[in-house]
Amino acid sequence: MSYFFQLLISGIVVGSIYALSALGFVLIYKSSRVLNIAHGQIIAGGAFITYALTVWADIPIYISFFLSMIITFFLAMSVERIFLRRLIGEPVISVIMVTIGLMSILDGIIYLTPFGSENFSFPVFFPKTPISFGGVSVSWTQLVGVIITFLLIAAFSWFFKKSTIGISMRAVSDDQLAAMSVGISVPKVFGLAWAAAGLSAAAAGGIIGNITGLNFDTLHAFGITVFPVVILGGLDSIIGAVAAGIIMGLIQQFASGYLDGHFGLSGTAEVLPYIILLVILLFKPHGLFGIHEIERV
């Protein structure tokens, strides 16, 4: 039974990290209907900045974690400013393609640093002994990761639901022209969305980096890995990201816990999310919590 619970807990932990990574997609999509393919690179970037601040600049990791969130906040904002500003109003696919180009550019920039082809790991700053109860164990890194995830997600949920800026961000995604007509600055909204996504990416990067070590390939692959999560939750729903993240985390853990090694299967955790995603989409074409496009003819 504790095997089951261990899988359950691990699933939730992994799932919430998925949710945090998916959050970046959601934030950008929510206001600009753009799927930022380069998000994985930003996650990796966030992790590297945290590392650089901690190890090279010798700043305590708790501070550098937040510093890196602030730095990526502004970096992502300027990325939007430089690369995407001109594309406001262009077809979605062009903008998505720009993010693909952006992916390459960020790759290039990261290859300029040692992070591109060398491996690092964060200094150990949490107690090494895991928290155990009833045969189930969670490491401190994971626990803190989950807490940060939920704090950030709660904050963003509130922001979009209640704050005027949050509302205006949603308004922009609905109808840009109408938004402009009431004085909402579309470029500012986009900038802000990217900035927020950058911030969440740095947080995700820090946490993932702590779990896997800092390897560029592993980190940026995460951008693609969380795709099914983003879609399952319904592109523009923060709550959806959380729910889908946890669902996917659980599916993966249980799949590799109960399927792999039987029936000659292995690596099911890689593909199962996509299969489940397809099945769910057939019943819920907008994901679990995505808004239904209101189409009145």
Binding site: G101, G108, I109, G116, F227, P228, L278
Partner: protein
């Protein structure tokens, strides 16, 4: 029609049939014919090295694939992030034959046009199956269905012992009237083979686009509710678009298998899918000739950047990082700059160029 069909100026139509013509003037048609002849003749006049022939073959194959992608994404507005998987389906159809009847069975070596055609149908079949969610899904959700196919395809091939778990499955050299195509003429031979197929497919698509079978694609892209009211089944039309795209991809896949004389899963990864998308966009979505410009531009760019970073490597100090970084950096930069300043792709340059020359010599 006015008597002079060489120039556009002063021409007008007198019947609706005339307006259907692909080439409006003799000048256009002649120009195009000359262009085609040049395509066939140049390698005989200036024989390129194997590497460049391979690159050019690659461009043509990519053009076949992108032509398909353009149908789905450009014309029907269905973003496909799994196009390489469809190409893979085509290639693995060839691999399937190689595994079941032996890689140098006459069927593979002599009846290769048939194999290519069958691969196309396999691609079309999978295209239609993957397109089925289009009956319910829209926009990015649909795009993700294609991504899922990409992932499932990769995983399945990796999983199947039958396909050597994704390792390269060899395919023998083909035969031609002159006997076996040797290593030396391999790339040249395929250049002609692919070129002929590409031109054929290009013309077929061009025809399709001026008939109801092509217009309905654009209709569902623009407004699928209205299309519905016009008597088209929007869902099935999308499925059909995917099938068409799958067909082209399948053909491209088989060509790839023959050209590389082997099929391995790495050539059909997500990264390739994204590259196809990049090609389609840089070329110009929703334009036919964009499907040729895009692959050419992206592959050339790749070579160019490779040369530049090599050169940089020779002049810069041994700190490898800069040269390493140069390649993705400049590659990404070009795509981004393109989209920022010419979001309609290279096809638009061509359009502008044409509109300048069209009415020549009278610009009004």
């Amino acid at each position: 029609m006015a008597s002079n069909r060489w120039l556009t100026t002063g021409n007008y139509f007198t019947s609706y049939k005339q307006e259907q013509r692909i080439f409006l003037t003799h000048l256009d048609r002649t120009g195009f014919l000359i262009f085609l002849i040049l395509l066939f003749v140049w390698p005989l006049v200036f024989p390129p090295s194997n590497k460049y022939m391979l690159v050019i073959d690659n461009i043509l194959i990519a053009a076949v694939a992108v032509l398909g992608l353009n149908i789905a994404t450009g014309f029907a507005g269905l973003i496909s992030i799994g196009h390489a998987a469809f190409v893979g389906v085509g290639a693995y159809t060839a691999a399937f034959f190689a595994k079941t009847i032996g890689d140098s069975h006459v069927f593979l070596t002599h009846a290769w046009p048939l194999v290519i055609l069958l691969s196309g149908f396999a691609g079309a079949f999978f295209g239609a199956v993957v397109g089925l969610p289009a009956l319910r899904l829209k926009h990015l959700y649909l795009a993700i269905a294609t991504l899922s196919f990409q992932m499932i395809f990769t995983w399945t091939i990796n999983f199947m012992d039958f396909f050597d778990q994704g390792q390269t499955i060899p395919i023998a050299r083909v035969f031609w009237f002159t006997g076996e195509v040797s290593r030396k003429e391999h790339y040249l031979f395929w250049y002609y083979a692919i070129l002929v197929i590409l031109i054929l497919l290009g013309f077929m698509i061009r025809n399709l686009l001026r008939t109801r079978y092509g217009r309905c694609l654009v209709a569902v892209r623009d407004n699928d509710r209205a299309a519905d009211a016009m008597g088209m089944h929007p869902g099935l039309t999308k499925v059909y678009a995917f099938a068409l795209a799958g067909f082209m991809a399948g053909v491209a896949g088989a060509l790839h298998a023959y050209l590389y004389r082997g099929v391995g899963i790495e050539s059909f990864s997500l990264h390739e899918s994204i590259t196809y998308l990049a090609m389609a966009i840089v070329g110009g979505l929703g334009t036919l000739h964009g499907s040729f410009w895009g692959p050419a531009a992206i592959k050339m760019l790749d070579l160019f950047v490779e040369n530049i970073s090599e050169y940089a490597g020779s002049v810069l100090p041994a700190t490898m990082n800069l040269t390493t970084a140069l390649r993705p950096l400049s590659f990404g930069l070009v795509i981004v700059l393109f989209l920022m300043f010419e979001p309609r792709g290279i096809a638009n340059w061509w359009r502008i160029f044409r509109s300048y020359t069209r009415l020549w010599p009278f610009r009004y």
